[in-house]
């Protein structure tokens, strides 16, 4: 009997296989638009169909019973319905929703400008940074073409929205960099220490940034280093100022790069006229090592270590005596950074890092010897938990060991600070169009013997397919500058409060951003000092206290168009800044010399196929800056004339000995504008010296050859 059961069962199964159900239907959006090319699948079977140009589909299946019918196409959210297959024809009307793409997704943009290669919303790519005319591959100089920044004239650093240079901090893979610049020389700014080619992305935040970053009153510059090098290759560069070489070895899961540069500005300075009376033109020797290891698909270890040795000497103007000061400066700095990150699974991510930096500056001002040492040891750990599609919660802790020493002839003073910080924040998507970031940060400094608590919050709301509005509020604390901490044990945190409102319109070819901001300062460091202290020297201040305050308000506009000119690309950034502050030895609130009311930058890049070259042109304008005139009873009420600069840079792409090569020529201040950065007065006001740029016009020529990387040749 049983054998018949199998037989009957078998026959039944076979028969049912021939009972077909015909399924037809249409796929539309909620607004009734039909969508072609949608893949309709009866889950776990081969059966299904694609919608035709009118959004219709039809197919037959031999399956029976309850099944899931899945439908999906690119640009839309996949969806499914349950169907019951019993041989009766089915007619379905399916609705499909548009998916949020990376470009269209709501993101927090208040205060933040991203640059990089991977992200579509990026404002500048790393190659843009390297080729911006006038920037000569200096990251910070390139960022000065973005809104919210003032042109740095004679002082090192990035000046953001009325903030001093010390208020912008640089983070390398999340780790604070204490000294991103070379030595401050009399009335001369120096380049940033890191090559733009080290990084795959840069986030420039001009306010309202995440609770992950502390110890910065005005701005955070986040540099994200490249991942594994793709190929083994060797690079050589020869410039009018020196030469460099780097070799990269690619292994199965890791890559190692060793490189170095030697720059000597003497030949260049002897050909092109300098406004500076150099004794020995700057000589720089830098070596670095990068190691990247990718033990698994989700994790990466990055190690970066750089050592740099700089020597310079010059005769600086001394309005006090009408003679000059002989300045000799040696700067040795080392920086090492180790970071590791891993996605433990779809929900958890860990990031850990440690860094150590050490800078030793020594030299002479005439017969007086000075030295400045500083060091920073940092550890950091962050844990991120992803919730749902895009929301997340992040928490982390940091510890800093910061120390500095300042010496003048036989005397010296030093301080050490242990700072611990903890932060947490949540990014919550309330729906596809609204995201909020709420968090806070707390710090304890042993030297200041005090705690702080900084709330940070931002909100972004999508207002259209390509547009969104976002806002941010936050409190930011920073320890007073090392110079002040060396001289006083009585100081506390300086504080800034940011309010930002931002509008952004973004498509693949166009970017428009407008941001209004208000920043309020409190507890800025004040002291007594006669005259205007010199930024490069060892100054003695008395009566240091946190009595300063101030404000900055304004609007930043950015427009970039990559689509209207074939092979061309331009952007315009404009900043309006109204700021006054009472800090240092100011008798009243005044506009500091580093803040310009109007700043305009126009950058235009064009690829010219006929000469195989890319031409980059940059124009910068900055309205007059204030300067200190002891003869004027109104403090800082004199202004220099406006600053103008037009730079060009031509990159000719070619091949040399079958290897990819770039010939590079860069000229700044082509029209020869007579720019004046400010004036140095003698204490009695009887004598003044204008501060000029180091040279009226700068030229740089170079050749870069890449061997072995057949990126551009086969």
């Amino acid at each position: 009997m049983k054998r018949y059961i199998y037989l009957i069962l078998f026959i039944l199964t076979s028969i049912s296989a021939f009972a077909q159900t015909r399924i037809t239907g249409t796929v539309k959006t909620s607004t009734g638009k039909t969508i072609p090319g949608v893949n309709i699948t009866l889950v776990n079977t081969y059966d299904g169909a694609s919608t035709d140009t009118t959004g219709k589909f039809s197919f037959s299946t031999t399956e029976t019973g309850s099944h899931l019918l899945h439908y999906a196409t690119v640009g839309f959210k996949p969806d499914s319905v349950t169907v019951n297959l019993d041989g009766k024809p089915l007619t379905l009307t399916l609705t499909i929703k548009e998916a949020i793409s990376e470009l269209n997704a709501v993101t927090i943009t208040a205060g933040t400008i991203e640059t990089g290669d991977a992200k579509k919303g990026s404002v500048l790519s790393s190659i843009d940074i390297a080729t911006t005319a006038g920037a000569v591959a200096d990251i910070v100089a390139a960022l000065q073409t973005l809104p919210g920044t003032s042109q740095a004239f004679s002082e090192n650093g990035l000046f953001v929205r009325g903030g001093s240079a010390a208020e912008t901090r640089t983070y390398f893979d999340g780790m604070l960099v204490k000294n991103p610049f070379g030595s401050q020389l009399p009335d001369l700014s120096s380049r940033s220490r890191f090559s733009p080619f080290l990084f795959k992305g840069t986030t420039f935040s001009s306010g309202g940034y995440s609770a992950q970053y502390g110890q910065a009153l005005s701005s955070a510059l986040l540099l994200e280093s490249k991942d594994l090098a793709e190929k083994t290759s060797t690079e050589f560069s020869i410039l009018t100022v020196g030469f460099g070489a780097a070799h990269t070895e690619r292994f199965e899961n890791s890559s190692l790069t060793i490189g170095g540069v030697y720059y000597n500005l003497h030949p260049d300075y002897s050909v092109f006229k300098q406004n500076v009376n150099w004794d020995k033109a700057p000589i720089e020797k830098t070596g670095n090592i990068q190691y990247k290891w990718k033990p698994s698909k989700t994790s990466i270890l990055k190690v970066f270590s750089q050592y740099s040795n700089n020597d310079v000497s010059l005769f600086a103007d001394n309005p006090d005596t009408a003679a000059t000061i002989h300045v000799i400066d040696h700067n040795k700095s080392s920086y090492t950074n180790v970071t590791y990150q891993d996605y433990l699974n779809a929900d958890w991510r860990i990031q850990a890092g440690a860094s150590y930096s050490n800078t030793r500056e020594s030299g002479k001002l005439d017969s007086n010897a000075f030295r400045k040492n500083d060091n920073l040891l940092q550890g950091r750990f962050t844990l991120t938990r992803y919730v749902g599609q895009r929301s997340l919660i992040r928490a982390g802790a940091e510890a800093y060991k910061n120390g500095a020493l300042e010496g003048w002839n036989n005397q010296s003073r030093s301080f050490n600070d242990n700072l611990q910080a903890a932060f947490t924040e949540a990014e919550i998507f309330f729906c596809d169009d609204v995201v909020a970031r709420i968090g806070g940060r707390t710090e304890h400094s042993s030297y200041l013997a005090d705690w702080n608590l900084a709330p940070r919050t931002s909100l972004a709301v999508k207002t259209g397919t390509h547009s969104q509005v976002s806002m941010a509020y936050g409190i930011f604390y920073q320890n007073p500058d090392d110079t002040y901490l060396l001289q006083s044990h009585q100081l506390g945190y300086e504080r800034a409060t940011h309010y930002l409102l931002n509008y952004q319109y973004l498509t693949n070819g166009l970017t428009f951003r407008a941001e209004v901001f208000y920043k309020k300062y409190a507890d800025l460091t004040k002291y007594d000092y006669d005259g205007f202290p010199k930024t490069y020297a060892v100054n003695n201040f008395s009566n240091l206290f946190n009595g300063g305050d101030g404000y900055a308000k304004g609007i930043d506009i950015f427009w970039r168009d990559k689509q209207s000119i074939p092979g061309g690309d331009y952007y315009i950034s404009y900043s309006y800044l109204d700021t006054k502050r009472d800090f240092r030895n100011y008798p009243i609130q005044a506009t500091p010399p580093f803040a310009a009311k109007h700043t305009l930058n126009v950058v235009y890049k064009q690829y010219i196929p006929a000469i195989k070259s890319e031409l980059s042109t940059a124009y910068a304008f900055s309205s007059g800056r204030t300067y200190y005139n002891p003869n004027n009873p109104d403090f800082l009420s004199d202004k220099t004339k406006a600053y103008n600069n037009l730079s060009m840079n031509l990159s000719y792409l070619t091949r040399l000995f079958k290897q990819f090569a770039v010939v590079y020529a860069s000229v700044n201040n082509i029209p020869g504008f007579n720019n004046i950065y400010g004036y140095n007065y003698s204490p009695d006001g009887s004598n003044r010296q204008p501060v000029y740029p180091a040279a009226k016009r700068n030229y740089l020529f170079g050749l870069l050859v890449t061997i072995g990387d057949n990126t551009f040749n086969h």
């Binding site: 054998r3 199998y6 690119v74 470009l103 790519s125 693949n508 690309d569 195989k612 990387d709």
Partner: protein, 212 residues
């Protein structure tokens, strides 16, 4: 009684397995026919959708994954979609290529496909992506050639990339010609097994003629 029962049971199992594999072979034949007759992005969408369904139903087979990737790649190459959509299509193509790679690691054909997709994705925003993605594409193609030096598609895709790269960046017809000629030679000797990739010979000839 017992042996008989077992025998029948085995027979049914064998029959259904056989039916299942027949079904797979029939489906692959149908899919290959769809690719062979496809020349428009719409036709490639139909083929892509077909292979995606087979790939979903046959999670252990690498070929449906491979062809789902291959067809999606061609939907984007041939179509006139927005850059965003092209990007999403290349991402989708890559995710299928990666699934194929997970099922059949270190396969020359899959690496060629990944190299091809990477280069095309680069071309969507070439200014921002060339620096990082051209080396990546080349590394994949070099690896493909290292695993199987006789794979003509590794040379074809490289030749094609070179063909469409501006001369200033080391591309151009003159540089492409050698690679395409090597590819053409290797196409003459290529041995095709089952449904394994065999595409490109005609494309290679078309490009080679344009080089002259």
């Amino acid at each position: 009684m017992k042996p008989l029962k077992l025998c029948i049971a085995l027979l049914i199992i064998t029959f259904s397995v056989k039916a299942q594999s027949d079904k797979y072979i029939t489906a692959m034949q149908k899919g290959m026919a769809l690719i062979d007759s496809a020349s428009t992005p719409e036709q490639f969408t139909t083929a892509a959708n077909f292979f995606e369904r087979v790939a979903a139903a046959e999670p252990k087979q690498w070929l449906p994954q491979y062809y789902a990737g291959f067809c999606n790649l061609h939907v984007a190459i041939l179509g006139k979609q927005s850059n965003d959509t092209k990007d999403a299509l290349y991402d989708k193509a890559m995710s299928y290529a990666e699934k194929a790679d997970a099922l059949k690691p270190a396969n020359s054909e899959i690496l060629v496909l990944e190299g091809y997709i990477t280069f095309m994705k680069m071309s969507v925003f070439s200014q921002q992506r060339a620096m990082t993605m051209i080396p990546k594409a080349n590394a994949l193609l070099d690896k493909a050639s290292a695993i199987d030096p006789e794979n003509p598609r590794a040379y074809l895709v490289k030749g094609q990339d070179t063909f469409y790269t501006p001369e200033a960046f080391g591309g151009g017809k003159a540089n492409a010609k050698g690679l395409l000629a090597t590819a053409a030679d290797k196409y003459k000797n290529q041995k095709v097994a089952g449904f394994e990739p065999a595409w490109g010979a005609h494309r290679c000839q078309v490009l080679l003629q344009q080089c002259n």
